[in-house]
């Protein structure tokens, strides 16, 4: 092992490799911070350029994009209120309010530190216990994934700020949206109205861009038209000069959240087929359960999702490296790159290319250091966006809605979808219906149906499979508790109040 470690160091620590890591990290951060361009896109673009590189450089640049990208999604989530990637959807919930309060640098600083914490945490898990974790993750089959997602659905409860009914309305509307397209098991066309582009379903990116960005745009334009103030965001006094990174005291307060969220992210990342967005919602929900102030624009609300989504990077590498199974589209692209370079991830990789495996680990550490350095200087630059007069900023965002949603699949239908959901989002805001459960519904809807139906095909139609498999049962019981508990405590409060009066 020590020999491998030394070999890994010598492989990773070359000027060329560090250069490629830097390129990858910057590319990933930029792509992730622009809604519509995800780091998966950056990975695909980079693949042909890796054909001519040596093994370690090729992997270094891809790891840079993957890890740098996961951390970049928070930038637009905090500053513009539009998540740069689906994995940053939960970051908007506290990040944007913090920016509105004039604490944008602080919010971004926390996001970076949480990202790096989550990434390194998952890397340690990857290095120490990859094999056993992968074996456990394999046991998470379709029935368990269905139960996990049902558990995830219960988060809607904590995302519905004022009214449970409105939250559920938005959540189920999101699930309904995922039924558009070819059904995931029988490939039967549903609600496609003969439009071929709809056969692939409604992608989350245009919906997210539309629903998060358009309401603000419409509102601002309306205010300008009616001659009302546009609500400029100013940085709070003192925020400009102070360093953006959280203080030791703030870190201490968030430590528990960071550790729990990183663990959640690593665990969910290791399960093939789930991915980043779910993990950050679950982590956010855990943080909110502990600190009711989460949701109003506090550090913990940023720490939780950002630690979780970066922990997914190390988590997702677990099944990829140990078994050669990619957990999501990003790791699938990386698997492709490995194979083009004649490396087969799996048990043999550790035997035949042990040094290379350690070079991957070391590359991940270097990438996270680069993230830390780049963001430290970057934040000061990024927050300048807030100096732009709001009306100009909104015009830019409108342009971004169009270009960003088109860029997802190079398909004009996605622009129309973004605008439709933009208008829906505006009216949801007017009527006080939260938009985040809608996004959660879309994230979970596709997975829930697919796994439900596949689990039933495997069990030959027996519904008992969901309760006879212990892990599945556990998640379902947890979900029931999560849904029922708030209702009980509310009822108790009411009866107590009634008794007192």
């Amino acid at each position: 092992m020590l020999a491998h470690l030394i070999e890994g160091f010598s492989l990773a620590f070359t000027l060329t490799n560090i250069f490629w890591m830097l390129v990858g990290t910057i590319l990933g951060m930029i792509f992730a911070s622009i809604p519509g361009l995800t780091f998966s896109t950056a990975l695909v673009i980079m693949i042909p350029f890796t054909f001519g590189m040596d093994n370690v450089s090729a992997i270094a640049v891809l790891i840079g994009i993957f890890s740098g990208g996961m951390s970049g999604g928070a930038i637009s989530a905090v500053l513009l209120g539009i998540p740069g990637t689906p994995s940053a959807a939960a970051t908007v919930l506290d990040g944007y309010p913090m920016a509105q309060k004039g604490q944008a640098p602080k919010a971004l600083g926390m996001a970076v530190v949480a990202s790096v914490f989550g990434g390194i945490f998952s890397l340690i898990v990857l290095m120490l216990v990859a094999e056993p974790v992968a074996r456990v993750a394999l046991k998470i089959g379709n029935a368990e994934q269905f139960a996990l997602v049902v558990f995830g659905m219960s988060i809607i409860v904590s995302l519905s700020e004022s009214s449970m009914a409105k939250g559920l309305l938005a959540g189920f509307a999101g699930i309904l949206v995922t039924t558009i397209g070819l059904d995931p098991v029988m490939a039967f066309q549903r609600y496609t109205f003969g439009i071929t582009a709809l056969q692939s379903g409604i992608d989350i990116m245009p919906v997210m861009i539309g629903a998060f960005a358009m309401p603000e745009v419409i509102e601002t334009f309306w205010r300008v038209r009616t001659g009302r103030p546009t609500g400029e965001v100013k940085l709070a006094e003192g925020e400009k000069v102070r360093t953006a990174f959280p203080s030791l005291k703030e870190m201490k307060e968030c430590m528990r959240t960071l550790i729990v969220s990183s663990a959640i992210g690593t665990g969910i990342g290791a399960i093939p087929g789930t991915g980043g967005p779910i993990s950050c919602f679950i982590a956010y929900d855990r943080a909110k359960k502990r600190n009711p102030e989460v949701g109003t624009g506090v550090m913990e609300g940023i720490a939780a999702p950002e630690a979780a989504n970066n922990a997914v990077t190390g988590g997702a590498m677990i099944p990829l490296l140990t078994l050669g199974i990619p957990g999501d589209s990003s790791t699938a692209i990386m698997l492709g790159a490995f194979m083009i370079h004649g490396l087969a991830p799996g048990p043999l990789l550790f035997q035949n290319n042990g040094g290379l495996v350690y070079a991957i680990y070391i590359s991940m550490v270097i990438v996270y250091l680069l993230v830390l350095i780049l963001q430290f200087y970057g934040i000061k630059l990024f927050v300048k966006v807030l100096d732009i007069p709001r009306i100009y900023l909104m015009m830019f965002i409108l342009l971004m809605v169009i270009v960003g949603s088109f860029a997802v699949h190079l398909n004009y239908v996605d622009i129309i979808i973004a605008f439709i959901f933009g208008v829906i989002g505006y009216f949801m805001k007017r009527f006080g219906i939260p938009t985040t459960p809608l996004i959660l519904g879309i994230v979970l809807g596709g997975i829930i149906e697919k796994n439900f139906r596949k689990a039933l095909v495997i069990s030959k139609g027996s519904y008992l499979t969901f309760v006879t498999r212990p892990v599945s049962l556990l998640f379902l019981v947890l979900a029931v508790i999560m849904i029922v508990r708030p209702a009980i405590s509310a009822a108790r409060k009411r009866s107590k109040a009634a008794a007192e009066s």
Binding site: F31, L43, M339, I340, V385, Y392
Partner: protein, 353 residues
């Protein structure tokens, strides 16, 4: 001053945005527009392209970059082989070939896109047997004849695999015997309803006279499900099985087509075992019907040359993909005969619409 600065900033952001939007596609030639984030990055590592003049050029095609539609997701078998091939072909054509994953609808989304473009050779499709399946499934109006074959490149065989160390069976005979004793009990994962592997699995069970539960998953999911013990066997492309067999996680039982694979020593094909079943999945380049013949010729030459590239050949050999280049006219005939074959199987398994 501050206002001016912010206007400049907005402009810069917009410029950056639009440039990024344009570079969503991936380019495979050095001359291609680089991603704005790393201006220095892409130029260096890409292979130097020496445009070799195609034989007897009657046309000045290609004058600009060519858009290649890949029907399935990035990182999969179709994507990998296609991208490598495009990289080689673009060096021969002297123009970049831009690969775009237009996935969805089992290929229908990508097919519709290509068929909606002008038949001028600038939009090509990395096609496969899925054209026959999608049509007969009723998810597409046009059939294979809407495309003109340019060059068939590869043939891939499917492989039936079980988890290594399964106590119930370790050979095909034992598997069949167990399945006959327990009809309908075994689950075989495939790559989705109507996928090539689904058709092959159904045809296999028909030929062997066994009754199983077909589980529609996808290439990665079936690997996960088999290793996790949710299903008893999987039908997957040899490329996806080889790594797991080498790693000692799976045992390959039988190949459904081709002449056996060097990467899977000792694994027989159905034909070698005396059964009447030999199905392989072809992949090749097609263009919309109506593309001028001289353009098709230029593309055909370039792709057939690319298919002979040593790096491409060694990648395919390493991963159990048989390179079987075939010219455009023979390819058209193959698509027609395969169409009948696929239709027959789909009638048998009740998927024909």
């Amino acid at each position: 001053m501050k206002k001016l600065l912010s206007v400049v900033l907005v402009l810069a952001l917009i410029l950056g945005m639009t440039a990024c939007g344009g570079s969503q596609t991936s380019t495979t030639a050095p001359a291609a527009p680089a991603a704005p984030a790393a201006p220095a990055a892409p130029a260096a590592p890409a292979a130097p392209a020496e445009p070799a003049a195609p034989a007897a050029p009657k046309t000045d095609f290609p004058q600009r970059s060519i858009d290649m539609t890949i029907l399935f997701g990035a990182g999969g078998a179709a994507d990998l082989v296609g991208r490598l091939l495009a990289d080689k072909a673009s060096a021969i054509l002297g123009q970049p070939i831009v690969c775009n994953n237009r996935k969805g609808g089992g290929g229908a989304v990508g097919y519709q896109y290509v068929l909606g473009t002008d038949p001028d050779g600038y939009n090509i499709c990395w096609n496969s047997t899925s054209i026959n399946v999608v049509y007969h499934q009723g998810n597409m109006e046009q059939d294979y004849s809407a495309f003109k074959g340019v060059a068939m490149i590869t043939k891939e065989a499917s492989c039936l695999a079980i988890k290594a160390g399964d106590s119930r069976f370790s050979t095909l005979d034992e598997f069949v015997a167990y399945a006959k004793d327990h009809p309908g009990e075994l689950s075989i994962g495939n790559s989705g309803i109507g996928s090539f592997n689904h058709l092959v699995a159904a045809a296999l069970c028909d030929e062997l006279g066994i009754e199983v539960n077909h589980v529609p998953l996808d290439a990665n999911e079936s690997t996960t499900a088999l290793l996790g013990g949710q299903i008893d066997a999987m039908m997957n492309m040899a490329l996806d099985v080889i790594q797991q067999v080498r790693g000692g996680e799976m045992t390959a039982l039988v190949l459904i087509g081709g002449n056996g694979s060097e990467q899977l020593p000792g694994v027989k094909t159905m034909k070698q075992l005396g059964y009447n079943l030999d199905l392989t999945m072809w992949r090749g380049i097609t263009v919309p019907a109506g593309t001028p013949q001289e353009v098709v010729d230029v593309l055909e030459d370039a792709f057939l040359q690319a298919a002979a590239d040593p790096e491409f050949l060694s990648f395919c050999a390493e991963n159990g993909v048989e390179v079987a280049p075939m010219g455009g006219d023979d390819f058209d005939a193959l698509m027609a005969s395969d169409d009948q074959l696929v239709a027959d199987i789909m009638v048998k398994i009740g998927l024909k619409q």
